[in-house]
Amino acid sequence: MWDYTDKVLDLFYNPKHQGAIEDKGEPGIKVAVGDVGSIACGDALRLHLKVEQDTEKILDARFQTFGCTSAIASSEALIELIQGKTLDEALKVTNKDIASHLGGLPEAKMHCSVMGQEALEAAIYNYRGIKREAHDDDDEGALICTCFGISESKIRRVIVENNLTTAEDVTNYVKAGGGCGSCLASIDDIIASVQQQAVTPVSASLNTNGQTSAKKLTSVQKIALIQRVLDEEVRPVLIADGGDVELYDVEGDRVKVILQGACGSCSSSTATLKIAIESRLRDRVSQNIVVEAV
């Protein structure tokens, strides 16, 4: 039997926000629905949001979940985390927040928390009229895991967002590789590729150019270096996910960027800023750098 926390069991046995929200055509109110998963894969979540249009505040949220204990508990946890928030605030909720709210999930069940995050994103995309097909998810990129229908771009995204380092981690987070296992070698390759993108190009060129952290960069050198890090290390990962980033301005250590494509309204945009961009620039350029989206 899985080692579930008391919180997981409590929310599983006593969910309070199950069900659907009917769109009654109330003025100023919009109901949005987000679907992820499938019965074939063994878990599915339909998230319903009732949103006040003026403020974009979530007035009510409900879930319908087909899945195991942790899938149902993750759905209830998601609702508890987003009730009363604005859509922008809700988009900052990550799968890690869901897992933390539950007091943790077994590693092999982390995909349930990812499902919660994705359903939220899907519902908000639907609310905003953004076609999900344009985003990273399962429709773009090579299909890596045929058992669960998971693409390379989705695997790349979950690796970057959660700092995953093994194929087993990837399986725990998105199920890829958890079926016949024939794609595990490909997942290893993707992890290696992401890791290589994260460390190789600029650090190598830094050595070539003799620029080290001990030597203070001029403003021009600093901006040029930031631009190179973004071009060589950050953008390939974001583009693979259907997004992009553009350098807008640099004021001292404040780096202003414009998130584009899928990243512009992605639920993980905060994580993208902090993990994929800021931490990278801190490693490569200066520990004091703060990245902001404009």
Binding site: L9, A40, R46, F66, G67, C68, S70
Partner: protein
């Protein structure tokens, strides 16, 4: 730790019979001699090992010289398959089924990497084999056919003797994994086509870690475990005397109770199954309606997931099992139900109830009392309500398509 429960997971393991415990105890305390020793302290233990061999042979309808004690089902399956291949090095083909226990399937996959060819026979929606497929697969190069007697998940029973006749016509050895069948179906190896048969103690109210392999007299056997030459050189290693004594006693009790116990279990199982099907909508039995073990029912509850059902049952002190992925370490649902072509709508919500001679009427009543509420509660949470749901159909087809 939970001590008392309504235990309906007897295909996983069974309660050790108190008479078995009693029979074993002296060999854990006072009589600890090694049966291979020359002194009388060990020699007296050898006598009880031989007695247990006779008891097991009686349950199988075999001669005691044809019984090798093992550590359980997995060792028995592995030893039989490897022995058959080592004894016929010129033959490189194995036939088995898609629904075997991993003790057979995983070994066969490994053997494929070692240059053997393996045919995995398919099953139909009722879990039964197609004889034409078996006939077509058998060749002069077939060293071994290894087919289970009864399936552990669905209880479906294969027509083993009919299969054996065809296997013998082609000169292959015939191994049967009978871990789930022994004690539930009368065995008579003397009148059988089976060359080797695996059984396990903990499925028949003996302890875990003990089992037996029947090897027909005259079948060439190359041992997997070599060393001190115990078990007439066919399974080296100091015998697990308390376990062997327990297995012997359990075999004696099974033989004593088999008719009455299986009839009683079947009655209880049928009441459980028929009442669930009659009172809970959208559920169905997975497996053949009659060619099934008397103690097993596998029921698929549409639109809900197995682990969630199990946890609710657990809250009521009821132990069962599920074919869903989430209740196991794997992310893939039951290979048995998938091989049968059970739709995902049913497969993920499949629950196995397996009874024993200890199961009572009152326990079945309790399950019948709580089950409708559990299903109703989980269906209220589910986004899938009927087969016509566009989302359900779309997604099911998409994944099936991707898998090819």
């Amino acid at each position: 730790m939970q001590k008392n429960c309504i235990y309906l997971d007897n295909n996983a393991t069974t309660k050790v019979d108190p008479e078995v415990v009693e029979a074993m105890l002296p060999y854990l305390t006072d009589y600890y001699g090694n049966p291979s020793s020359m002194h009388s302290f060990g020699g007296q233990v050898k006598k009880v090992v031989n007695q247990a061999r006779e008891q097991v042979a009686a349950l199988l309808g075999a001669d005691e010289s044809e019984v090798i004690f093992t550590s359980g089902g997995t060792e028995g399956d592995n030893a039989a398959i490897r022995a058959a291949l080592l004894a016929q090095p010129q033959k490189r083909h194995i036939i088995t089924t898609q629904v075997e226990h991993p003790a057979v399937l995983t070994l066969c996959k490994q053997l494929e990497n070692q240059g053997y060819t393996v045919t995995y026979l398919s099953v139909n929606r009722q879990g039964q084999l197609d004889f034409n497929e078996l006939e077509a697969a058998l060749t002069g190069n077939t060293a071994l056919v290894s087919i289970m007697y009864a399936n552990n998940e669905t209880g479906v029973v294969f027509p083993i003797e009919q299969i054996g006749v065809r296997v013998k016509e082609h000169g292959a050895l015939f191994h049967v994994d009978a871990v789930q069948a022994v004690g539930k179906i009368p065995m008579n190896m003397k009148a059988s086509t089976i060359d080797m048969l695996t059984m396990s103690g903990h499925k028949i109210h003996a302890p875990k870690g003990i089992g037996a392999l029947y090897v027909r007299r005259g079948v060439r056997f190359r041992p997997m475990l070599i060393g001190g030459g115990q078990e007439r050189g066919r399974r080296s290693g100091t015998p697990n005397v308390p376990g062997i004594v327990g297995l012997g006693k359990a075999a004696e009790l099974e033989l004593l109770h088999i008719q009455e116990a299986t009839a009683r279990e079947k009655k209880l199982r049928d009441r459980l199954e028929q009442t669930i099907i009659a009172t809970i909508p959208d559920c169905e039995v997975n497996g053949h309606s009659t060619q099934r073990l008397p103690n097993t029912t596998n029921i698929g509850f549409k639109y809900i997931e197995g682990e969630a059902i199990l946890l609710h049952l657990n809250k009521h002190g009821i132990c069962a099992s599920s074919g869903s992925a989430c209740s196991s370490g794997s992310l893939e649902p039951s290979h048995v139900l998938r091989a049968m072509g059970i739709p995902y709508t049913i497969l993920h919500g499949s629950i196995r109830f397996s009874l024993s001679r200890y199961t009572t009427n009152a326990e079945i009543d309790t399950v019948l009392e709580v089950m409708p509420g559990i299903v109703e509660h989980l269906r209220a949470l589910s986004p899938f309500k009927n087969d016509e749901a566009a989302w359900l159909q779309e997604q099911e087809q998409a994944v099936i398509g991707a898998r090819g």
